[in-house]
């Protein structure tokens, strides 16, 4: 027994020392060498008088001391023996629990003088069963950090060496090489999925070294959970034997999703316990391929669907074209036709023999048309006029057909598309247009003739109008000139007579005076006639303007009576006036009103020999009309003449033996003047009963 050598306390383990151990461990390919390196390194760097490394020779086998420092042969023997004898030895418990444990000196399985206690630290891979124990004698219940570090790093190395145990040292390495050479992960686990053995590929997926990155550790942890669950559920399966199952894992290095097929086989381990051999086969690519295949298939379906709908749409488009369309194969057989084409080339449902004949005729016509295109082999297009027949009605349908070759990629003929255009309507339209043009031309010619005639008529009318106008103007001018020619000498006659009567040339004898008076009277009558003719002329020539003013009827009548006074005195008639109440002021042509009243009164005096003449004026409020009536007790007028007397130059008696003189213009002038005032002259009379002439006229002219 070697007494514990004093540890160089000041010598803290440096990074270099740790690196040196790590390098040493990497070069080890046997458990024993690995154990020795660990033990010696701890004895040198941790303050411990004794260190030992125990492992099982095989899974479930006996524990043996692989290497030690500070332990005597006796210690070795005691340790091995006690472990062998007691199945429930405290160190065995530590091994199964895989948690470091401190044993005080008195309870230590193997006391070493000079130490207070013993630390038992399980060794192995993280997540797998411990394969050995590291025994470190220390002076307190605190686990030295160097021990913890060494246990964490040496554990996986040791575990790899130890688990290759079944075939012995040489065989273990070979076995290791063999299973490591398998590219698929291969594992041995217990039925709960706890790892006992894993090849390199499996380790890369399920084991993380202590210094692995955080991400890798997480990935490994995840994989372990998935794998453990899969194995556990496989193991609980009803049928023992080979089973398959898919396991999704993560590639810890790349982070890629991988899919494995787990083939599990239950085996019996040498210790008699059931274990599970799992072989994982990477089917990720297969899965991807399947997926890709599915995608391709889906696309294919979609494309097919699209093509079908495209075809459907094309059909509808073709059917919607009013003109027939036929697609033929290179030999001229119909491949496809739209609805309008079907109407021509297929037998209608109620088609009799006649319809059948017509369809055949259409086919024949079309075939011979296509033959041109097929035979010539020249141009890509052929145009022709085809006389089709409507199968149902038998009506001729002249068509223009345009056939176009459809060429394949290699220039070979793959089909022929023929488009028909019904010319029937166009021809009918053209015919109608022609007719329309003819009729239009005819109509135009007629219109021209009619227009020419009309123009001629218009010209004639225009000339007549001009002639009439000229005649009228000539008449007016003649009358005006005549009037002037009459007036000039009359002026002298009346003037000299007047002067003689005034005694300019000395005193006159009574006889001279009487004769001069007669000359004067006759001259005045002549003047009156001339004035009347002139008035008519003025009115007809439109040269008699209205001169409107405000005046009163009573004053006007007074004036009239005054002017007529000499004649009234001579007539020996009773002449009276009667004015109605409320006679308003009048806005009219005073001169014209006066002229009419004068005329009517003078007429009355002329045709009344005895009795009376009455002049009365009234106003009708409702109609705003004034009326001036001249009533006499004269000879009266026969109804037959009552209208006629108002016409120009008309008198009741115009015979050469007539009893009354006058031009016959007086009443005509009265009526025209009344017209101008917006009124009229009325007559009530019967022969021998006297007459009443009335002038009606509005208080104000209606037209401004």
């Amino acid at each position: 027994m070697v007494s514990p050598s004093p540890l160089p306390t000041a010598h803290a383990t440096s990074a270099d020392a740790r690196l040196a151990l790590a390098e040493q461990l990497l070069t080890c390919d046997a458990a024993r060498g690995c154990a020795r390196a660990v033990v010696e390194w701890l004895a040198a760097h941790a303050p411990s008088p004794a260190v030992a490394c125990l492992t099982r020779d095989e899974p479930g086998g006996r524990m043996g001391c692989l290497a030690s420092v500070g332990l005597t042969e006796a210690h070795h023997a005691a340790l091995t023996e006690s472990l062998d004898v007691h199945a429930a030895h405290p160190l065995a418990e530590v091994l199964s629990q895989a948690v470091p444990r401190y044993f005080p000196h008195e309870h230590a399985p193997l006391p070493i003088p000079g130490t207070e206690g013993l630390f038992a630290v399980p060794l192995g891979r993280e997540g797998a069963s411990a394969v050995g124990l590291l025994l470190v004698w220390v002076n307190g219940p605190t686990l030295p950090s160097e021990v913890a570090w060494v246990a964490a790093h040496a554990g996986p190395f040791l575990a790899r060496q130890v688990t290759s145990g079944p075939l012995g040292l040489g065989g273990g390495a070979l076995f290791r090489h063999i299973i490591d050479a398998v590219t698929d992960p291969v594992l041995l686990t217990d039925l709960d999925g706890r790892l006992r053995l894993a090849n390199a590929r499996a380790e890369s997926l399920l084991v993380a070294s202590p210094d692995a990155s955080h991400g890798r550790k997480r990935a490994v942890h995840l994989n372990q959970r998935v794998f453990t669950t899969a194995v556990a559920s496989t193991a609980r399966g009803p049928v023992p034997g080979v089973s398959w199952r898919e396991v999704p894992l993560v590639d810890p290095a790349e982070g890629l999703d991988l899919l494995f097929e787990l083939v599990g086989t239950r085996v019996y381990a040498p210790d008699g316990q059931e274990a599970m051999v799992s072989v994982l086969r990477n089917v990720t690519d297969l899965g991807r391929a399947t997926q890709a295949l599915g995608e391709s298939y889906r696309r294919l379906r979609a494309t097919e669907r699209e093509a079908r709908s495209e075809r459907h749409r094309l059909d509808r488009v073709l059917d919607s074209v009013a003109d027939p369309i036929i697609l033929s194969n290179p030999t001229g057989g119909a491949v496809m036709m739209n609805e309008p084409a079907e109407k021509l080339f297929t037998l209608p449902s109620e088609g009799g023999r006649a319809a059948q004949r017509r369809v055949r005729s259409n086919d024949a016509v079309f075939s011979s048309f296509l033959a041109n295109l097929l035979d010539t082999g020249g141009g890509p297009r052929w145009r022709g006029q085809l006389n089709m027949v409507d199968p149902t009605s038998g009506a001729t349908r002249p068509m223009e057909a345009v056939a176009t070759k459809v060429l394949g990629d290699g220039g070979e003929l793959t089909g022929i598309v023929t488009l028909f255009q019904d010319r029937g309507e166009a021809l009918e339209k053209a015919r109608l247009l022609e007719r329309l043009k003819e009729v239009s031309t005819l109509l135009e010619a007629r219109v021209q003739v009619a227009t020419a005639e009309l123009a001629e008529q218009n010209e004639k009318l225009r000339r007549q109008a001009i002639q009439l106008e000229q005649a009228s103007a000539a008449k007016s001018q003649f009358l005006a000139n005549m009037s002037h020619e009459f007036r000039t000498p009359l002026n002298a006659i009346l003037g000299y007579t007047n002067m003689l009567l005034q005694g300019v040339s000395g005193e006159l004898t009574p006889i001279q005076r009487r004769n001069l008076t007669r000359i004067d009277s006759n001259g005045r009558h002549l003047l009156e006639v001339i004035n009347e003719i002139l008035d008519i002329t003025r009115i007809e020539a439109g040269r008699m303007p209205l001169h409107l003013s405000d005046f009163g009827i009573p004053e006007l009548l007074q004036e009239v009576m005054a002017e007529m006074d000499p004649i009234i005195l001579r007539s020996k008639l009773t002449v009276s006036t009667h004015l109605g109440t409320k006679l308003p002021q009048v806005h009219s042509d005073r001169q014209k009103v006066k002229q009419v009243v004068l005329n009517l009164l003078s007429n009355a005096l002329k045709f009344t020999h005895e009795g009376s003449v009455n002049v009365s004026a009234e106003y009708a409020t409702a109609s705003s009309m004034l009326s001036v009536a001249v009533t006499d007790t004269g000879i009266g007028i026969d109804p037959a003449y009552q209208e006629k007397i108002f016409e120009d130059f008309q008198q009741v008696d115009s015979s050469p033996t007539r009893a009354y003189g006058g031009t016959g213009l007086g009443l005509s002038i009265c009526r025209r003047l009344a017209d101008m005032l917006g009124g009229r002259v009325t007559l009530q009379s019967s022969p021998g009963q006297g007459s009443t002439f009335t002038l009606h006229f509005p208080r104000r002219p209606r037209r401004t």
Binding site: G495, Y496, R543, P545
Partner: protein, 136 residues
């Protein structure tokens, strides 16, 4: 007649190409106490008017050489004769002539036949109006 002296009687120029009418009016005007000058056409009328400066002119409108309208227009456009009243005389009684006569500057319009005494009345009326206008 405000002034009894013959030289101070108003001078009337009677213009008419129809001798009987002109001489008749002249005779009656003289009988009525006026001094009278006569002219047979428009040119004479203008010459007489400028030479004599009559108090009033009786102007027939249808005149040879220069018609009554034109003669009146010239008289009314001349400072020497502008204020002399002109009475238009015409046998043409169609409407329009009177308006034309007024347009030419005539102060009054008398349609033939016009009895000598009526004409004298018209002359006196115009002279009185002129006297009133001048006295203002």
């Amino acid at each position: 007649m405000t002034n009894p002296s013959p030289n101070l009687q108003p001078l009337v120029l009677v213009v008419d190409d129809y001798d009987d009418a002109r001489e008749m009016y002249a005779e009656y005007l003289e009988f009525s106490g006026f001094r009278v000058a006569q002219a047979r056409n428009g040119q004479e009328a203008l010459d007489q008017a400028f030479a004599l400066a009559p108090d009033i002119i009786l102007m027939d409108l249808s005149l040879p050489v220069i018609d009554g309208w034109e003669a009146t227009r010239r008289l009314k456009n001349d400072d020497r004769t502008r204020t002399i009243p002109v009475v238009a005389l015409t046998g043409h009684a169609l409407t329009g002539q009177s308006d034309e006569a007024r347009g030419a500057g005539c102060d009054s319009f008398v349609t033939k036949p016009c009895l000598p005494d009526e004409l004298v009345t018209e002359v006196r009326t115009l002279l009185a109006q002129r006297a009133v206008a001048v006295s203002r």
